[in-house]
């Protein structure tokens, strides 16, 4: 269905690309013009994406704003886009964070600015494309295409060991992507063998009822790609390197959006396409998620570089998302999706804040700071609020997501929740210890005394994120509501395909302490 009768999704996808062309076309000797053009196009994209929320129909699980045009008819490839309650917020998050990331680069990027903003805009096109494509071929194109601008961002505008980090990032993700391609092709041919039709249409492929072993192998092929992207323990080591070396805006988009592609991939593809395999492997995935939660938190604790600390905290937070998704109930899944957004906001903001500090002091070592509250109170307050959001303080966004995830996990198996919840303690430990060493304490260093507080532009960069952090915490209902129908449909689909599954919401009676039997 397309309620607008207008290819809005394509417009949103290609507007940044047009912006990239425009940036390359303007006079590079006038940096203000380059920045203004880039920001203009990213803001236009953000504005253009708002109707997705305004016209979104929350009562249906069907794809909305759909576009479908035959592309390579002989191979059954369609140019096919659409969003539902699962992708809606991810698209909006992408347009929102992209505009902010561009605005945040104002003073940080001084070399090859023109190319930089063009690459940022190309990246935006790729990221939105991943979230709106509903044809597996198109999806794969965007998935791989998006690697290139990110590779360039890290490799050209990154820190001292940017080449190592960029190559590692590229090869690691690429390796997963190739496996996924094999999976996509296998699915394509299996579908042909069963139905006699060649198609990459996700909605068609979802109708397949694969036998268990086919599901298992295909699930693994897809999921390794996604698990690397998430990243799930133990596939995470590209992440700290990439984050630390990437320029601030790159880290913001990497953490804010790119990681979500992994978790999104699980919800959009792995679960509905291969539900029996997903159910069979759910305990293993949950175990890895829990290990990731605890491991990421413990490793964060001993980082000396604050950017690396934030990077490892992502491993922990994304572990929560995975735990929720594989609880297979609406609290877990909706909490997981909401937590993707929350993580994008709070971790995005953390990277922005760290970047602002780096611009001033050219160091990210925690030991170089201390007592910042005295020198730059506004900055410190922003860091405090965002850190508290990150550790899931009630009233801020992280709490709603984390709590829903843990409720979902509890329903599935109370041990999942009990182990996962230790991450809530540990996140407080590493974040508060970081705050204590950076923001509190004595202002000793001479260099820190002369720091200037946030500029108006920096306030403008952070304020919208902080407003959303409060809004989702205090009134999450408008954010959860549009996901509901799609989540229910996904769960029903996961349940109907195959003989077994946990049905959501039938737990009121019965023995709550008993483990939910997956195979009743």
């Amino acid at each position: 269905m397309n309620q607008l009768g207008f290819p809005l999704l394509s417009a949103i996808v290609y507007l940044p690309l047009a912006g990239a062309a425009a940036v390359l076309a303007v006079d590079g000797r006038n940096p203000a013009l380059v920045k203004a053009t880039a920001f203009l196009f990213s803001s236009l994209t953000l504005l253009a994406s708002l109707p997705l929320y305004l016209f979104f129909q929350a009562d249906t699980a069907a794809m909305q704003f759909v576009e479908k045009v035959p592309w390579v008819e002989s191979l059954g490839i369609n140019y096919q886009m659409g969003i539902d309650g699962i992708s809606l917020w991810l698209v909006l998050l992408t347009t929102f964070l992209s505009a902010i990331a561009i605005l945040s680069s104002w003073s940080a990027i001084t070399t090859r600015a023109k190319e930089y903003y063009a690459v940022m805009l190309v990246l935006e096109t790729g990221m939105i494309g991943v979230f709106v494509a509903t044809d597996l071929f198109l999806f794969y194109v965007f998935w791989e295409a998006m690697l290139i601008p990110m590779y360039l961002l890290i490799g050209i505008w990154g820190g001292p060991s940017r080449i190592y980090a960029a190559v590692k990032f590229f090869l690691y993700t690429m390796a997963g992507g190739v496996l996924m391609l094999v999976g996509i092709l296998a699915l394509y041919f299996i579908n042909h063998a069963v139905t006699g039709v060649y198609t990459f249409d996700l909605l068609e492929l979802r109708k397949l009822n694969l036998d268990f072993w086919a599901q298992l192998w295909l699930f693994l092929a897809f999921s390794v790609a996604f698990a690397i992207k998430v990243p799930m323990f133990p596939f995470h080591t590209w992440l700290p390197d990439a984050h630390v070396e990437a320029p601030t805006a790159g880290s913001v988009l990497l953490a804010g959006v790119l990681l979500k592609m992994g978790t999104y991939g699980f919800v959009r593809f792995s679960l509905p396409l291969f539900p029996a395999a997903a159910r069979e492997l759910s305990s293993i995935i949950a175990a890895l998620a829990i290990i990731g939660i605890v491991y990421g938190a413990l490793v964060s604790l001993v980082q000396e570089d604050v950017k690396k600390l934030v990077a490892y905290s992502s491993v922990s937070h994304l572990g929560f998302v995975m735990l929720g998704l594989f609880a297979f109930n609406s609290q877990g899944v909706q909490g997981g999706i909401l937590q993707m957004i929350n993580h994008g906001l709070s971790t995005g903001a953390l990277f922005l804040i760290v970047g602002m500090l780096y611009e001033r002091r050219h160091t990210r070592m925690i030991a170089d700071f201390g007592g910042l509250w005295k020198a730059i109170p506004l900055f410190s307050m922003a860091l405090l609020v965002v850190s508290l959001a990150s550790i899931g303080l009630p009233g801020l966004n992280g709490f709603v997501g984390e709590f829903l995830i843990l409720v979902g996990a509890f329903r599935h198996d109370w041990l999942w929740a009990a182990f996962g919840a230790t991450g809530v303690i540990l996140s407080a430990v590493y974040m508060l210890w970081m705050l204590q060493r950076m923001v509190f304490g004595e202002l000793k260093s001479q260099q820190n005394q002369g720091l200037r507080d946030l500029s108006a532009r920096e306030v403008l960069v952070l304020a919208p994120i902080i407003v959303l952090i409060f809004l989702i915490g205090v009134y999450p209902w408008p954010f959860l509501k549009p996901m509901e129908a799609s989540t229910q449909a996904l769960l029903a689909e996961v349940k109907s395909k195959g003989q077994v599954l946990v049905l959501d919401g039938i737990q009121a009676e019965g023995i709550p302490m008993a483990r939910q039997d997956l195979y009743r």
Binding site: H236, Q331, G395, F403, V439, L480, E484
Partner: protein, 639 residues
Amino acid sequence: MLYQAWIIPILPLLGAATNAFLGARLGKRFVSLVACGTVGLAFWGSAWVFADLTRLPAGERLAMLPMYQWISAGDFQVNFALQVDPLSAVMLLVVSGVSFLIHVYSTGYMAEDRGYARYFTYLNLFVFSMLLLVTANNFLVLYVGWELVGLCSYLLIGFWYERKAAADAGKKAFIVNRVGDLGFALGVMLIFVTFGSLDYQDVFAGAPQMLAVGSVTATTITLLLFVGATGKSAQIPLYVWLPDAMEGPTPVSALIHAATMVTAGVYMVARTHALFELAPFSLSVVATIGAVTAFYAATIALVQADIKRMLAYSTISQLGYMFLAVGVGAYAAGIFHLTTHAFFKALLFLGAGSVMHALGGETNMLKMGGLRLKLPVTYWAFVVGALAISGFPGLSGFFSKDAILWQAFASPRGGIALWAMGLATGALTAFYALRAVFLTFHGESRLTWEAERHVHEPPSSMALPLGLLAALAALGGYLGLPHILGGSDALGSFLAPVFLDQANTALETQAPGNELGLMGLAVLAAFLGMGLAWYFYLARPEAPGALARRLGGLYALLANKYYVDEIYGGLVVQPLVALAHFLGEGFEIAVIDGVVNGVGRTVAASGAWLRRLQTGFVRNYALSIFLGAVIVLGYFLFR
């Protein structure tokens, strides 16, 4: 006003927001006006709500205020909802009333501080959180208040963030509380999974039907909730943060770490008594932990030299009394002691603050002495507080402690052991309270010459709250004057509709003589403690030192707080940090990243090796083609 009661918590929130954004610009007068004004209005609103409630018939004293749909995911539907009933109303009055007095006191105490606006922002935010906690209508809103008071406590303990000890203490408080909150959160989840709802009335009404008395689920839920209470209300084993919390400004210690926040656990158990009643084992755990903590913390308080730390251990001990009360089913008595304790402990802290104010921040009682002549107002206020906590007959602590001891003895859930521990704690309490009075205000002055010159009485903004709290600490007990002394137990009967205690019916079968007899014993214990304090610190000032030398081992054990911080450090903190170092600096780099880089190196190395095949000589390639052809042929010939 009942259905507009949501305004009460909102007021201080508005105050906090105003001071956060405008406070630094508009000056101290403005800040104090906003901060005290909003909390004062909240108190006025609470009084109005209380009055409205009393006008209703006893059985109908409940107003629910659903605010808006908060979180919804599948069948997980939680509203942001508040409620007012007698228990909430009492808590509203205590919290907003004591908060108001302490806000006023703070305007004097913090007058010279650079972070004046920040201080009142946090303090108002705390009052909001606490009022939210006591008016929540479901477990999730309760949890929000529960965590937010913890946040404010963190911010206020670390208010003087440039001091490492303060920042450390704030962090410790937050993390230890989070450990407790983990239990609490799991309890809330289990409640949802069991009842399909988090609303109080659904859960409390459904509990007796859905859970059998003594069932595993009921016991698990209540024990998990109680884990949260041990964190927030500083009971064994999670009490360790509270003494360190004394690094915060003294009015904060009075408000958050004595009168209000730390009592949240007691409130929570009383609020959820419908669940605890189904779990006799959990109740006995609550009572036992309470009694043991009361006694244990009191022994530590005996030897503290720091006046604030002494008061902190005393708070832990008194909170133990409250848990003893709710653990034996004497919920109203627990709330009664919560109320009187809020008065006299806030008074003691503010008195101590007033001493510190006069001495430029000195907290060591061994460096004080003889201050009663120089600080008469503070002295008399402190004496009233000390006598009230000691259970001096007629003062507030006497009545509330007696109500607890009596029910600990007579309730079917109580017993002689619990009672005896409470009684012994009473003697210890009287001893350390009077010890503080004597060390601080009596005897020879041990002040430095410089400090001596500086000593002055507090300004009226501090003296007035002291006076009012002294009046409350003296007279507050008459709120719950027991029937046996000709009273009507007004507080108890007001709260009765909330607590349909089974325990109370059993009490009536006890002979009245017992109650009076036990009361006499409690008075004796109190006088014994006071007498010993007089002997050791006034009559024979050299005796404590001699005794400490004679009992060297015991003294060291108490002075070092049973080495619990060291034990926790060795058993929990250090292993965790070591594990984190091992994972972050060893395992992560050597194993996980090592494998990844190893794969990369293997590929590169095999490429380098295979490159040797590409010699560039045609004869080599011809040879390979020939060999290949032979192998293929051979395969087809001999298969």
